[in-house]
Amino acid sequence: MTQPSAVAGGFGERGSLALYCAVGLIAGAVIALQISIMRIFAVGSWAHFGSLVVSLAMLGFGLTSAVMCISTKWFDQHWRGLSTLALMLFGPLAVASNLIAQQFPFNAIFLVSDPAQKWRLALNFVLYLTPFLAGALFLGIVFLKAQKIFNRVYFADLVGSGICGMCLLLSMYGLRPDDLMLVPLGLWVLGSVLWFVSVGSMGNIAAIGVMAVLSAAAHLMLPSLLNIPKIAISDYKGVSYARKFPDSKRVMESTSPFGYLEVYSSSYLHFAPGLSDNAGFNLPKMPKDAYLGLYSDSEGPSGIIRELPADETAYYRFLPMFYPYLIKQKPETFVVQFGGGLSTALAIAAGSSSVTVAEGDRGVLNAFRTQKVLRDFTGDILHKPGVSVIDYDGRIYLAGVRDKFDIVDLSLADSAGLSSPGGFAIIEKYAYTREAMANYMRALKPSGVLSVTLWNKEEPPKSVLKLYATMAAAARDAGGPDISKKFFVASAYLSTATVLYKRDGFTDGEIATLRKHTSAMSFDEVYSPGFKPDLSQQATILEDYRNQIFGSGQQQTGPADAPPPETAKDVADSPDIIDKPDDAPPPDAKPDVLPSTQLGRIAWQAHVTGTWADVARDYVFDTRMLTNAQPYFAAYVKVADLPLVTDRLDLLQDEWGFLLIWATLGVACVAALSLVLLPLIFGWRTIFSRYPGKGRTIIYFACLGLGYIMVEVGLIAHFILALGNATISASVLITGMLIFSGLGSFVSERALPNARAIMPVIFAIIGAILISYGFFIDHALNAIGSLSYGWRLLWCFVLIAPPAFLMGFPMPVAMTSLGRLGKEHMYLWAWGINGCFSVIGAALVPVLATSFGLHSVLAVSGCAYLLALPMFYAVLKPLEGASPAGAIA
């Protein structure tokens, strides 16, 4: 049945409980460290770079595996010393690398213009790689010595990772981001002690104790002793500005898995999102010190408005979210997202007979409900008469409720007062999708109004065009093909855009009222029933916008043209500056309507007549609508244009989040494939010459690495639909997937004797489940979303269990087979290939999701498992020269 392993001194056929616990805890420490570093980046600088650094650092597993594969014998001989060394170093390296990296922060916004920033990024990567190398070396040695019982060790690895990941997330209730590092340290100490017990090296327990005390002390005390920060919070993070205001005061702080919340008070904080310029002359009294600044993970501020006395409420009239109240008296109002409370306060002040307000962020809701400082400041807004609170996403509530409303408001939800520097994150915005909008529209009374306000700060316009497309499509879904009488749209240049949808169409009187208000506020009318825009410039505007980004500067007309580059060079090189006659009009000359406003008008005309696809095709940016499959206000650069943007990154700084996911994929592919190739170059003709089917074996493990991580990361994004929060979704998925897969791995031992017959069935079922999940899981999650939270969590685990359990089989079955066949080089390498392709898979998910939709992620991972099916047989081939009896049945 089995063939003796070439490796002497393994853990035998069973292994001890201490061994399994040690493996689980160390694997858990690695994942806890990974999440901790990402949290540190999210709070200190920019989360996307955290993902980049961490995912590359995970290549430490690939690197370790490649090296171990080439020199297996040496590692086998020195396994005791090496595993001790790896464990002794993990904690100190984690602490030291973090402290040093925080002294050399890099700043994303200078990445293109400042050459030094690239080196800082590289230094961060190298530093954070070191603890992962130690962790990978330890786990690599354990796997090397556990070839016969891989499935059990793997079970411990997965379950340990899952449980420890959950521990870390729970610890976020008590630990601030800068102290999260203590969790992986604690797991590491426990795991190390158990390891030394299991291998009988009791003498090392004292040593690891000393290392642990030193590491924890260094983390907790060195920063204050040396006066260095534990987290270098970028000067360009919103909270850094607030801290510098002379009278700024932090009035509230809370930490939870939902984020690290801070509230600051200062007379220097001013908000009035979209405020009409006419307020300056026409407002009798401008409210002073009207806002507190709310910062989540150092980003912000979102304005928290104080309760305004009656003589100051005229202020609300000058905000764009006041629009629906012009035509609705004493409405029953629904506010889709509470945020900082502005929409809610406005709804109350505008005379709503009732206000129902939803907020999916429990951290925010708890703060407003329980913190005295916020309750006093806002007049206890959430407990006012007539206000009722829904403590989960408004989007989910409206999809399931029978109540109907006069006004549904979604205004600048979850949006900070200012744009965050350094590019915008790729975040699922399910509140703005076609499906969500259609639900809002259906939740209106027959003459009800949906009012959506969005930032309109981009030139060329991007987000607002996506919003327009989404709302037009949703209106057709909710109420039939003719939408011409149902919309009124107004915007202010480089400020905000507001779209009003009325279910039964606007009356002439209402249109007159809205138009008059638009003019009185100096806003621009973009669409109203019967509005006839000037379409004669459509082709020119579209072409000019394209040239703005991709032109050579020579195609445009007008005074602000860039000269041909040769001219610029000639002039600069020449000792003489020669004035050229300027035949263009002065820069003050302007057309009656700004191009971005004109483009908005063209867009609405096209939406109403159903010709938007033609316009969108010619526009410089991708402005496809948001759907549950592609819920992103991002990815505006068309994929075909990506090669053209590399020399003009400074023009597209708000797209860096999107460009970075492509760059991460590129870097991950190059780095991972290099690591995979390393053993190939050194050993294809020597070490692996006796290995039949080695090419297909590589593909097998690549498929598993790619498929597994893509399911995990892809489902995290999907499950936000039902769970409403990215952190909770990540916790449920990480824990659920790993634990169920761990159980699968444990049970997979029984499949070993009959692997040839059982595994193909398992692969086929996994492929079928994943592909069908790709198409149907959103419907299931939408249904689950309307249940109480406990039931939602339970149903989510029920959805995760079947694929995760089965996905626990392929890796241990194949690895144990390799071990038992004596293919230890391939065994080690396979582990590395799996790790490398996990990195590629994780980087591939956002690229697929933004370009093709989230369902494609699950479909691709399903296909990866189906591709692994035929490859599996190559894994079972015995070594050349070995007796056929060595093959697994």
């Binding site: 400042d114 510098k244 040239n547 602000a560 610029a568 060079k569 090189d573 500056i577 708000d654």
Partner: protein, 289 residues
């Protein structure tokens, strides 16, 4: 934090950066507001700037090269603005570590989460508000001080407000040092540390207001302190991805005061700054090619 920063900055300049600091000579002659450096010939400009202003050739060469780019780019259009560009000593307003990059197109870090805008955008914004001699100009967001120094070559009435206290103090010290060295035109810059949101009521109303910090709306007090017929210019968006909004306050035919928004390119769609790349002292092509 502050102590550490000062300590580090101090040690760094002592240990590493001191040898790289330029030997800025004292300015020999006070500037006569009617005089101008030669605008069309490099050597003549260098000679004038060394004799009249005592400036360092290294930076004069960089300034002249960037001047060529801003002229070619039509960021500056008239002689008064050209003169302002050639006279404003940008090298005094960047951090020592960025001296070699003082005239690059890009915005540069100046600590406190603030940047000094690139030379193209500064000259473009200033050209657009068309400052006349004697105009009262208010700047919100002093930052490095470069914008106000540039304005000081266009008018003798400049007010500037900085919200970040240590930065306001640092830049005030820079002005005072430069005034002491002979840049007496900077005596016309009145500065204070305050919240620019409320403008500078005692000094108003103003003919032109330049806002150089991001905000989600135009502060109503600034619109109140702006003369009818005046212009506010305000960048919107994060550093590096900003669009520049131009706001005109004017009296309509019906006698009502109106506010009109446009952008600094007068509503045309044009490639956004920066257009030219400077590597060392030379312009190497453009970012749009």
């Amino acid at each position: 934090m502050m102590d550490r920063r000062n300590f580090l900055a101090g040690s760094a300049s002592l240990l590493a950066l001191a040898p790289a600091l330029p030997a800025f000579a004292a300015v020999p002659k006070a500037w006569d507001r009617k005089s101008s450096p030669p605008l069309n010939n490099a050597e003549a400009f260098f000679k004038w700037a060394v004799e009249e202003r005592g400036e360092d050739m290294k930076y004069l060469r960089m300034r002249w090269a960037r001047y060529g780019a801003v002229v070619a780019n039509k960021d500056v259009l008239d002689d008064r603005n050209k003169r302002a560009f050639l006279m404003a000593p940008r090298e005094h307003f960047v951090l020592p570590k960025n001296l070699s990059r003082a005239y690059e197109h890009a915005f540069l870090d100046i600590d406190y989460g603030v940047t000094i805008s690139g030379p193209h955008i500064v000259s473009r914004m200033t050209q657009v508000i068309d400052v006349k001699e004697g105009d009262k100009v208010l700047e919100i967001g002093t930052g490095s001080g470069y914008q106000s120094s540039y304005l000081a070559y266009l008018t003798d009435k400049v007010w500037t407000i900085e919200i970040i206290k240590p930065l306001a103090e640092r830049t005030r010290a820079t002005y005072d040092k430069l005034i002491g060295e002979g840049y007496t035109e900077f005596k016309n810059i009145q500065s204070k540390n305050a919240d620019g949101y409320y403008g500078w009521e005692e000094a108003g109303p103003f003919d032109k207001i330049i806002v150089t910090c991001g905000i989600d709306h135009i502060p109503p007090p600034l619109l109140q302190q702006l003369n009818v017929g005046g212009t506010i210019i305000i960048p919107v968006g994060p550093p590096g991805a900003q669009r520049v909004l131009k706001v005109i306050k004017e009296k309509g035919p019906d006698g009502e005061i109106k506010v009109t928004r446009s952008d600094i390119y007068g509503g045309r769609i044009v490639p956004f700054v920066p257009f030219t790349k400077l590597e060392g002292d030379e312009i190497k092509g453009t970012h749009n090619k």
